[in-house]
């Protein structure tokens, strides 16, 4: 008797290993490419070695700047991917994405408001992520409220998110023009930029990724149950509503932290888990998470490589390139969803 389930489990696991190798190698390649590119093309190994030693000795150099920017890309991409993965599970919605659901724009708005406040630079470094988190969660609460009143479906949730996001995005432009002196820098930030990454900002985002990932991996069987049915979560003695609140909070935290320092980078949260499920041909949470995480880093680093090199000496906002990749991904998922109707 051929054991069908065992074969399926083996097939799924083998595909996971293969996809892990594929994505990890691509990530390393794009990371090296990103380090190499710039006004001057350099050997990425040299950049890496010199950059790291400059970070350790806290001296500034072009190499250090390149390494920090690349690491920021890895951390931000991973954070957005984990954020999207968590919110997709929480809303049981393949269209879940912190940008599409209004979280990122809410965070952006709150950070812009905090810029107009008369607070010291030291306080600002704390105020920025806190404001972003409050703004992100507030905006998502509004999205949920509107979607709830519109009869919660995957589509109404996204449409409510787009309404809320557009609103907050637009009103966050206004104070940028009216009150802020360093307009160009703020504008570049709000459009998504890894340029000004500092070591501790990257470390903060990376820590949030690690926390979110550990939480998800430790709870993967409950998360799996949540992807199927609330009753299966209750069967495991857990309350699905409080589980949703926890993972939604983690998702908003991850997305808001990236917005606080690196601005809005849309669609990565949507595309990465989707890409992972496509490549794995499976929706198993335990496998989707690590692939989505690396996929997010890959997408952001890839987009930023194009953004910083294609129009030299101009440095484009990474969001423009990310959206060029992400918007078709959204279209693909939407078309795919039609099959299910």
């Amino acid at each position: 008797m051929g054991s069908a389930v065992e074969q399926y489990i083996k097939l799924r696991r083998r595909r996971f290993y293969a996809v892990t190798v594929l994505i990890a190698l691509s990530l390393i390649a794009v990371f090296m490419l990103h380090l190499a590119l710039g006004v001057e093309i350099r050997n990425p190994i040299d950049v890496l070695v010199k950059g790291f030693s400059d970070i350790v000795s806290s001296s500034s150099s072009i190499e250090r700047y390149r390494v920090q920017r690349a690491l920021a890309g890895v951390a931000v991409g991973a954070a957005l991917a984990v954020s999207g993965y968590l919110i997709q599970i929480a809303s049981r919605n393949p269209l879940g994405d912190p940008y599409l659901l209004g979280i990122s724009s809410g965070a952006l708005f709150a950070v812009v408001i905090s810029f107009t406040l008369p607070i010291s630079a030291a306080l600002m470094s704390v105020a920025r992520p806190v404001a972003a988190l409050i703004g992100g969660i507030g905006a998502y609460a509004l999205t949920l409220y509107i979607a709830g009143r519109a009869g919660m479906t995957p589509t109404t949730l996204v449409l409510s998110g787009v309404a809320v996001g557009t609103f907050f995005y637009s009103i966050s432009i206004l104070p940028q023009y009216l009150f802020i002196q360093n307009l160009q820098m703020v504008f570049a930030w709000s459009q998504g930029s890894l340029v000004a990454a500092s070591v501790w900002e990257v470390a903060a985002v990376a820590s949030a990724v690690i926390i979110g990932t550990i939480y998800a991996l430790m709870n993967f069987s409950v998360l799996n149950a949540l992807t199927v049915s609330d009753d299966f979560v209750r069967d495991m003695g857990k309350d699905p509503s409080s589980l949703r609140r926890t993972i939604t909070f983690l998702s908003a935290l991850l997305a808001s932290l990236t917005v606080a320092w690196f601005g809005i980078i849309g669609f990565v949260g949507l595309a990465s888990p989707h890409l992972a499920r496509r490549l794995l041909k499976s929706g198993e949470s335990l496998y989707v998470l690590p692939i989505a995480l690396m996929g997010g880093s890959l997408l952001v680093l890839g987009a930023d490589s194009i953004a910083k090199y294609l129009f030299l000496p101009m440095d484009l906002p990474v969001n423009i390139i990310a959206s060029l990749i992400g918007a078709p991904a959204l279209a693909t998922i939407l078309v795919g969803m039609r099959k299910r109707a």
């Binding site: 008797m1 054991s3 069908a4 389930v5 065992e6 399926y8 489990i9 097939l11 799924r12 997709q88 599970i89 049981r92 919605n93 393949p94 069987s221 799996n224 149950a225 992807t227 199927v228 049915s229 009753d231 299966f232 209750r234 069967d235 495991m236 003695g237 989707h274 499920r277 041909k281 499976s282 929706g283 198993e284 969803m337 099959k339 299910r340």
Partner: protein, 242 residues
């Protein structure tokens, strides 16, 4: 052995299950009653999925106190359908259970003919195929009490018969099988006992034979019925609304 003592379940102001006391032994018990009678709620209380007042004991253990490590051995709830994240496969869905016995799972994948469906996405399968997958998932725990909610509504007659025969066989090997269903044909034929609910209260519990000697069927559904029994098969024919 499953013992319910004065089990009440409330959803806000609404009392879905109202003081049900019953002892159910091994074998297949068909839980019937009109829509909203409390069939699903009873199964969910027995499975510890909803909060209940009173006591639900399986082999002497209170369900709400069962640890996660033990729970799967005692009880398994099988929903009629789910609205899962669409990008999962049938295989992923089945394997989401935390307490699955792989040998049993293999057996039910054979019986319910799921092998060719394991790699299919959920949107590529019919509601009957999804229902069969959920059944395989639930049965593969090998629990003492198996609570199956409306298993017959989506699946075709061949798989209905296979499922009912398997559930009857499980009942004969000591399992307490609860089937909530309004598909009296063919469910009654394969059941040993009937638990009839109306308005959240238990109005009858006894053997199928005893049940058919009463007119409870007509009274709880408000429908005149004719019951035909032949060659061990039971057929309920609704004649008119009473």
């Amino acid at each position: 052995m499953l013992k319910l003592n004065d089990v009440t379940v409330r959803y806000g102001q609404f009392t879905a299950l109202d003081g049900v006391t019953v002892r159910v032994g091994q074998g297949v018990t068909l839980i019937l009653g009109p829509n909203g009678a409390g069939k699903t709620t009873l199964l969910k209380a027995v499975s510890g999925i909803v909060r209940y007042e009173g006591s639900v004991k399986i082999s002497g253990k209170e369900v709400r106190n069962l640890s996660l490590a033990l729970k799967g051995k005692y009880v398994s709830y099988v929903p009629p359908t789910v609205t899962a994240m669409p990008e999962m496969n049938i295989g992923d869905l089945i394997l989401t259970d935390y307490s699955i016995n792989h040998d049993l799972l293999e057996k039910y994948v054979q019986i319910l003919e799921l092998k060719h469906l394991l790699s299919r996405r959920l949107w590529e399968v019919s509601s009957g195929e999804l229902a069969r997958a959920l059944l395989a998932r639930g049965l593969a725990r090998g629990s003492t009490v198996i609570a199956v909610d409306e298993p017959l509504s989506h699946i075709d007659i061949k798989h209905q018969l296979r499922l009912l025969k398997e559930l009857r066989a499980l009942g004969r090997t000591g399992k307490v099988v609860l089937i909530a269903s309004n598909q009296l044909n063919p469910a009654l034929t394969y059941s040993d006992y009937v638990l009839a609910l109306k308005g959240g209260k238990a109005v009858f519990f006894g053997s199928v034979k005893e049940f058919l000697e009463t007119d409870i069927l007509s009274s709880i559904y408000g429908v005149k019925v004719k019951v035909v029994t032949e060659d061990g098969l039971i057929d309920v024919i609704p004649i008119d609304v009473a």
